[in-house]
């Protein structure tokens, strides 16, 4: 458990947040630029003192202003991967990696040099100097350096924000590998939802120095506060399930979640793997009877659980499809002509190819 209750005033900016996130796993601090995410991680790292506040990780108190206690940053054992990597320019990649390792406590070494270089593909870079590395390579070295300091918590402050799309695609799989192979709790700061979608277990939505909602990623994706942050085009429920059937020849996989299944276009799916998909609200079609004679691959029965005002003439309908919910954007006119209201049975139609899917 990572329990955070902190406030900080910096000039006109005012931060006041409290959340408790499960550990291990990845907690995403998600919000627009300037909402105070970095301030939170700086306080977690001990680089910034909260005005009043306390931070507790498992049974270790990191800071508690009420008790007048603050563990110095250099003794917190919290790895910090900065947006700009911050590799030491006078040291080689190897020197950078060893820097934190040499200063970590001798006893509980959970991750070794070879394991880290293997996991992050750093072996060919060891003798190089930071200024010869690409942006993606720098972030991988920064990750390795933080890991080798044997952290009990890893802070990732927009580690991909300074990279272009292809570099981001290069680093993301390494982050996923870390999450899956190590049991180090992580706090991941981002304003890019696709990163959060791929990585996070628990999402803290922030806006203007406040937490507007916090919880599991499925639950958060249904919230109006989430829509307010990502904008209308990216609104859509995130579903997590298990691949029960993979048809590589046709490039289709069957994703099971709750009591429902979904056909997903995913060529590389592996049976038994966990996967996440986001169903964009504007890609969903609602019908009062099952689909026939349509190209739509998914036709799922559900019940209307909520209707809320969206932008302009549209309405967002929350449909419970058995153990999970999805969001569909329909016009007010369509809503009226279908006669949908709370409790109405409804069919949700989803094209398999329209899913932003990711196999975890």
């Amino acid at each position: 458990m990572l329990a955070v209750t902190v406030a900080k005033r910096r000039g006109a900016f005012d931060l006041d947040v409290a959340f408790e996130a499960p550990t291990p796993g990845i907690v995403a601090l998600f919000g627009r630029s300037g909402c105070g995410k970095t301030t939170v991680v700086e306080i977690l790292a001990g680089l910034l003192a909260p005005d009043p506040g306390s931070v507790r990780l498992e049974d270790v108190v990191l800071v508690d202003t009420a008790a007048g206690y603050s563990l110095p940053a250099e003794r917190r054992r919290i790895g910090y991967v900065f947006q700009d990597a911050r590799l030491f320019p006078h040291l080689s990649v190897r020197g950078n990696l060893r820097y934190g390792q040499k200063r970590s406590p001798a006893a509980p070494h959970t991750i070794g040099f070879d394991e880290v270089t293997e996991l992050l593909g750093l072996a060919p870079l060891l003798a190089r100097r930071p200024y010869t590395l690409s942006g993606g390579e720098r972030q991988r070295v920064a990750l390795g350096r933080a890991l080798l300091s044997q952290p009990r918590l890893l802070l990732l402050d927009e580690p991909l924000a300074a990279l272009d799309a292809s570099r981001r695609a290069e680093v993301l799989p390494y982050l996923e590998a870390l999450r899956d192979k190590l049991s180090i709790p992580m706090v991941y700061v981002s304003h890019q939802f696709d990163e959060v979608l791929r990585l996070a277990d628990y999402v803290v939505l922030m806006e203007a120095g406040r937490i507007v909602a916090a919880g599991g990623i499925h639950e958060m994706s249904l919230r109006p506060e989430f829509a307010a942050i990502v904008g209308p085009d990216a609104v859509g429920a995130v579903l997590e399930g298990v691949i029960s059937d993979a048809d590589a020849a046709r490039g289709l996989a069957r994703l099971n979640f709750g009591t429902s299944t979904l056909l997903v276009a995913a060529a590389d799916a592996r049976v038994g793997a966990r996967a996440r998909v986001q169903l964009f609200a504007s890609d969903l079609i609602l019908a009062t009877q099952p689909a026939q004679g349509l190209s739509v691959r998914n036709s799922i029965a559900g019940v209307v659980r909520g209707i809320r005002e969206d932008q302009k003439e549209a309405q967002l309908v929350t449909v419970d499809i058995g153990g999970a919910s999805v969001l569909a954007r329909v016009t007010r006119d369509a809503l009226d002509s279908l006669g949908l209201h709370l409790g109405s049975p409804v069919w949700v139609l989803v094209k398999a190819v329209s899913l932003r899917s990711h196999v975890v």
Partner: protein, 231 residues
């Protein structure tokens, strides 16, 4: 060398090198500390301290030499104490010349070091902190190596300037052959004597060569270190 340069020139050259070396070696750690205090530390009277450190740049060197004579002369408060406890005599000695040179070149050194300390990315120090490095450790492993270009530049500049320090040296430790008669003092003495023209020319050539070499070495070192730091 002995064919062209006589004992007087070699003596003066040897003395100048000894004085400049001692002065740089002794003042460098203090200059790093003062540069750090002036750049990073917050304390009352920082502006006064800053002005005090830079005083030798604007004071007449003779005045600095006189103040040193009053304080570090055999009967001066510090000079007396040093002699009583350590048997060190600064007045009219080579070490005294080094002290006068150090005081005069100190502001040069501090300025060069401050410039490079200002350029050290505080974010790297924060990163070192999260990796478990305490304050002294961070300074030694991150800050100092990154400010090395400035430290080296400051040292070489101070060394080159120290070879020719005149006013403060002649006032504090006089002009004693073999003990305090450095290059510039020997040059001055040669110019003052009726038959000293040839000697003066040779001393001037030595001074010119040393100064020029110093500047070249400073530039070369700075390039090497910048390259090493990857800039």
């Amino acid at each position: 060398m002995h064919d062209f340069f006589g004992a007087a020139e070699l003596d003066a050259l040897r003395l100048s090198l000894a004085v400049a070396t001692r002065s740089v070696l002794c003042s460098l750690p203090a200059a790093v500390l003062v540069a750090w205090l002036l750049t990073r530390a917050r304390f009352h009277g920082r502006m006064l301290f800053d002005a005090f450190v830079h005083l030798p740049l604007v004071l007449p060197p003779v005045a600095v030499g006189y103040v040193l004579l009053v304080l570090f002369g055999t009967r001066g408060p510090f000079g007396h104490w040093l002699y009583e406890h350590f048997g060190v005599e600064l007045a009219f000695s080579t070490n005294g010349a080094a002290l006068a040179t150090a005081v005069m070149t100190f502001p040069l050194m501090v300025r060069a070091i401050r410039l490079s300390l200002d350029n050290v990315d505080r974010g790297l120090e924060a990163a070192a902190r999260t990796l478990g490095a305490g304050a002294l450790d961070r300074f030694a492993s991150i800050t100092l190596p990154l400010m090395l270009p400035g430290v080296l530049a400051g040292a070489v500049m101070a060394f080159a300037a120290g070879l020719g320090e005149f006013g403060a040296v002649i006032t504090f430790v006089a002009n004693i052959p073999g003990r305090t008669r450095t290059l510039s003092l020997a040059l001055y003495t040669a110019i003052q004597s009726p038959a000293g023209d040839a000697l003066a020319v040779r001393l001037a050539i030595i001074s010119f060569t040393l100064g020029f070499a110093g500047l070249l070495i400073a530039e070369w070192l700075a390039r090497r270190v910048r390259h090493w730091l990857g800039r």
